[in-house]
Amino acid sequence: MFPLVSLVLKLYAARLWEGGNVNRRFIVISVLVFTGAACSSNDSSGSAATSSADAETHLTVFAASSLTAVFQDAIGPDFEAQHDGLTITFNFGASDSLAGQIQSEGTADVFASASGTWMDAVQDDPGVTDRSDFATNQLVIITPPDNPADIASIDDLATPGVQLVLAAEGVPVGDYAREALENAGILKEAEANVVSNEEDNASVVAKVTADEADAAIVYTSDVSSAAGNDVTAVEIPEDVNVLAIYPIAVVTGAPDATLAGEFLSYVLSDAGQASLEEYGFGTAS
């Protein structure tokens, strides 16, 4: 709804501009400034598009941004195909942001988090049911295809001058990455190389695919063939790697709890688990 209002305002502003005197033009400028500002704050609220009018049912799923590809391209469409007239609305973002949105707005049916911490937060307020772990993930180093800083192992991230991008602290993948660097004994050196603390996993990957950063630590699912990112992967050895466990649950007060429960069952079913494996995740149990 909002982008439409914003567009109408801008079109109106453009017409005023054409025939305007100086004072009128300042009104136009003000409108442009504020609609511009509104756009930027809109970026953060994710992709919560509204469903079309003829849809009979819809389900709102808040999911960690590392789940974007598998939920949007596989599990979502497959589940929709089993339910006539169902539209799933996904809101992808950092799990910490999603937890905050659920607590303040409470519009989610399902929450799929990249860490237990933020599911705990939602479990405390507003509460969840049917919580279970549905996937696991590990960490991997990614570099641009030509690996400009010659990263061959996690220890190379301590080399001064390497431009390293991590997710911010509090974002699950950011905390996991710091845990792995700590395990490797290079947390301090690596943190000195950090050039940007990104707000979610997808933004971290984007900085490397754009060839801006020399290296980043993300999930192994990000480099699975199905995710199809244009990066080189450098493995992190088992003994320093971190296992991320993804919980999923129906949010208390869900607009459609029955359907939400069915979605959970589907994610945990053989078909759902097969999709997750295809996208580079480990299975639950």
């Binding site: 100086v22 970026d43 707000e199 754009a210």
Partner: protein
Amino acid sequence: MHRRLPLPLVGLAAIGAIFVALPVVALVVRAPWGELGEALGGVGAGSAFRLSVVVSVAATVLSVVFGVPLAWVLARGSFPGRSVLRAVVVLPLVLPPVVGGLGLLFALGRSGVAGRWLHEALGIQLTFTTWGAIVAATFVSMPLVVIATEAGLRSIDPRYELAAATLGARPSRAMWRVVMPMLAPQVAAGAVLAWARALGEFGATITFAGNLAGRTQTLPLAVYQARQTDPGGAIFLSLILVVISIVVLVSMRHRLTGGR
């Protein structure tokens, strides 16, 4: 003499005013005032504040240095494609900032169209640096200087310049001594709006320059990062932005509205 305003007008105006003021009031009400000191320390308010001042002021200077000549060319020049150029120059105003940031990344990033050359030939990298944040802020704010200046120039009769020329002034002298003094208030108004836009810039900055405390993390980015882990700190950072903006807008109100 006291003029009576139509009641529906006053009613709608009141709703409009409350709508605009309410979010600011809400920030003040929700702020955990007892924890002011530790909250500000925890979110690195000092470095974000300094960086915001540096970035917004530098972006305003760059916007004026390049935006005023651009407006001059648009207002006084006559060449094919002028209206296309004007549309292109104003585009950053209507573009979502994140799109601008992405465009900057592909243009001036270290493997971008022009950025590759900057990086290989001169060893300059803009991304993840304070200069990158300044570039992003300039990109979104320069159109405001261009628009205000061009509007000002169009309201100044070109015959002043002609008169100066007939009295023997070369074009550059006529520009500085005759037109500039009349134009200055418009340029100043444009610069204030540009500065305000640069201060609030978020999307292009985080996309192009990244987010690192002390280097590219301006106040809006610090608010965004703190909002989940430290909501109290995020509120105080927001209030810093509100206070700076109000102080500057109030002190510049004559320039902005031309009113009393």
